[in-house]
Each structure stands twice: as structure tokens, then as C-alpha cells.
């Protein structure tokens, strides 16, 4: 069985995919994950997920090429600044005031 392992580096941080372990059952998987992804104190927590339990979505049809949904080449920074100026929220925006 293959287990996907996610690890958290510090409390409060998101869990990130670390890799996999192959193990016959959950008990072995826990020991192996602990040794592979935790023995150097590099993690504060691990999640183990049986690969079968993962639902994967890998199709994202875009038959009509709806480019306007994407932001490529669109300078959002300037537009956002202008919008914030209009709304009077520039001061509140992160890093907004000094730009």
C-alpha cells in the first residue's frame, strides 16, 4: 500500500506534501513515516493518507478559451491600487501605502 505523507514544519503552518511511504498497513506506515520525515526534528506533525483515499480531479475543460477568466498579462497591481485609492482603503492594504 502506498501512503501519501504530509508534514507540518511548525505549528500553525500548512501541511505540505513530503513524499510517500510504501507499507503493508497503517501501523507500519506510521513507523516508517516517523522515521523518514520526523527523525531529524524537521516536522512537528505528519498526516498519513492512504493513496486510495485521495480523490483526484485532473480535468479542467475550457472549450471556449475563456481568456478573460485568467489574469495573464493583466497588471492587477496598478488596477488594485487605483481601486483602493477610490475606496480610501489604500492605507489599510498590506504594503499599499509605500508604493
Amino acid at each position: 500500500m502506498i501512503w501519501e505523507v504530509f508534514r507540518q514544519e511548525r505549528k500553525g503552518q500548512p501541511f505540505q506534501h513530503a513524499g510517500t511511504v510504501t507499507a503493508p498497513n497503517e501501523q507500519f506506515a506510521e513507523i516508517y513515516a516517523r522515521e523518514q520525515y520526523g527523525r531529524r526534528q524537521e516536522s512537528v506533525a505528519l498526516w498519513l493518507v492512504a493513496r486510495e483515499a485521495v480523490s483526484e480531479i485532473d480535468e479542467f475543460p475550457d472549450e471556449f478559451d475563456l481568456k478573460y477568466r485568467r489574469v495573464d498579462g493583466y497588471s492587477i497591481k496598478t488596477r488594485l491600487r487605483e481601486a483602493r485609492e477610490r475606496a480610501g482603503t489604500l492605507e489599510m492594504a498590506p504594503g499599499g501605502a509605500e508604493e
Partner: protein, 223 residues
């Protein structure tokens, strides 16, 4: 040498030599995950040996390294169980499990020691050994779950049993027997324990390899 130092060295030598033996699987364990786990366990054992050598060294006015590497093979106090070279997985697991079971019994008495240094190190060791025991127990579950595995485990335990008894002092042996018999669901033969301090020929070979680098460098070399 005090009784205390003798005790510290016995356990330190057990942990060092077993750590060394277990590390012989590094790179060739049955599969990758087990390779990493078993190597990590070996490193832990050597860490325990170091902590115990340091306590003994403070008393003897020497260093942990000198105790670990500068004695002659016949001066080591380890039990024969950890000296045996059995590069066969069922025997390795059987030895690992027998040792961890005996060690749990021994650690329980050390944790209750009036000597706060010994009790402290024992408690720290036990927190890591708990994972070694989990690892050993899951392998025992696994081996007991099939006819072939059960046969191989039983054969290995029969071979190692007199050595396993030798890890513990007389008064702790009945506890070891009770635990092993109940886990395997069978009685073990009445055998003479192989006493601590009687060394196997394999120890000298291991010592040659283990101390080779140390012996090759002039005294006082810094690493």
C-alpha cells in the same frame, strides 16, 4: 570498578554493539522504508550508549569515546545476544524483539533507581525505546500472521532464547520468559542462559571493524 560503573558499561555495551549489528542492514534491508527505519533505530541505540558511557566516564575520569573504542574486546560487558552476527531477517527481528522486551524490563527497574542520574537517563531512553518496541511488535504481529512467518520466527527465537535470557540478571528472567511465552502462545524450553561477559568469536571481528579508524589515527586526533 564500582557496581554502578559495571552496570552502566553493561548496558552501554549492549546498546553500542546492538546498534552496530543493526546498522549492518543499512543499504541492504528488505525494502527501502525498513532500511531507513532500522538504520534510525541503530542510531538511537548508539545515542543511548553514548549517554551511558558519559555517566560511566565521569566516574572513571575518562571519556565516552575511550570507553567505546579503546578497550579490548574481552573487556566489553555486553550480552552475547547482541554480539551474534545473523544477517537473516527473521533472526534479526527475533533478536530485536527479544532485546527490546528484555530492555523494557531492565529499564523499568532503572527508572525506579535511587540514583537520579541513572533514573533520568533510563527515562529518556525509554521514551525512544517505546518506538523501537512498537517497531518490533508490529513485525512480530506480521510474522505471526502467516504460517511461514510463524515458523521462521519460532525457529529464530528457539536459537536465540539462551542468549536472550543472558541479557538480564537472574531475578528478571522469569518476567522475560512470561512475556515471550505469552506473546508466542507457547512454552519455551528450560535452557542454561548464556552468561554476560562470555564473548562470541563474532565480537572480536566486530571490534576490529568498529575500532579500525580510531586505531589508525594518533591518540588525541580531532574529528
Amino acid at each position: 570498578m564500582s557496581k554502578r560503573t559495571d552496570l552502566l558499561l553493561s548496558i552501554a555495551d549492549d546498546e553500542l554493539i546492538l546498534g552496530w549489528r543493526n546498522s549492518e542492514w543499512t543499504g541492504i534491508a528488505p525494502f527501502l522504508e525498513e532500511d531507513v527505519a532500522f538504520s534510525s533505530i541503530a542510531q538511537n541505540e548508539i545515542g543511548h550508549a553514548r549517554a551511558l558511557y558519559e555517566l560511566a566516564a565521569a566516574e572513571l575520569g575518562t571519556t565516552a569515546d575511550e570507553l567505546a573504542f579503546d578497550r579490548k574486546p574481552e573487556e566489553y560487558r555486553c550480552a552475547s545476544l547482541v554480539e551474534l552476527r545473523r544477517l537473516e531477517w527473521a533472526r534479526t527481528i527475533a533478536r530485536h524483539w527479544l532485546y527490546e522486551t528484555a530492555d523494557e524490563i531492565r529499564l523499568a527497574t532503572l527508572k525506579a533507581s535511587d540514583d537520579s542520574e541513572i533514573a533520568g537517563v533510563a527515562a529518556k531512553m525509554d521514551r525512544e525505546e517505546a518506538y523501537h518496541r512498537m517497531h518490533a511488535e508490529m513485525w512480530i504481529d506480521r510474522l505471526l500472521s502467516s504460517e511461514d512467518g510463524r515458523e521462521r520466527l519460532n525457529e529464530a527465537v528457539d536459537e536465540l532464547w539462551p542468549y536472550a535470557l543472558g541479557v538480564l540478571d537472574d531475578e528478571l528472567r522469569p518476567d522475560l520468559r512470561a512475556r515471550v511465552e505469552s506473546r508466542l502462545g507457547r512454552e519455551l524450553p528450560d535452557v542454561e542462559p548464556v552468561p554476560r561477559g562470555v564473548h562470541e568469536a563474532e565480537l572480536a571481528e566486530l571490534w576490529e571493524e568498529m575500532t579500525m579508524v580510531r586505531r589508525s589515527a594518533p591518540a588525541g586526533a580531532q574529528w
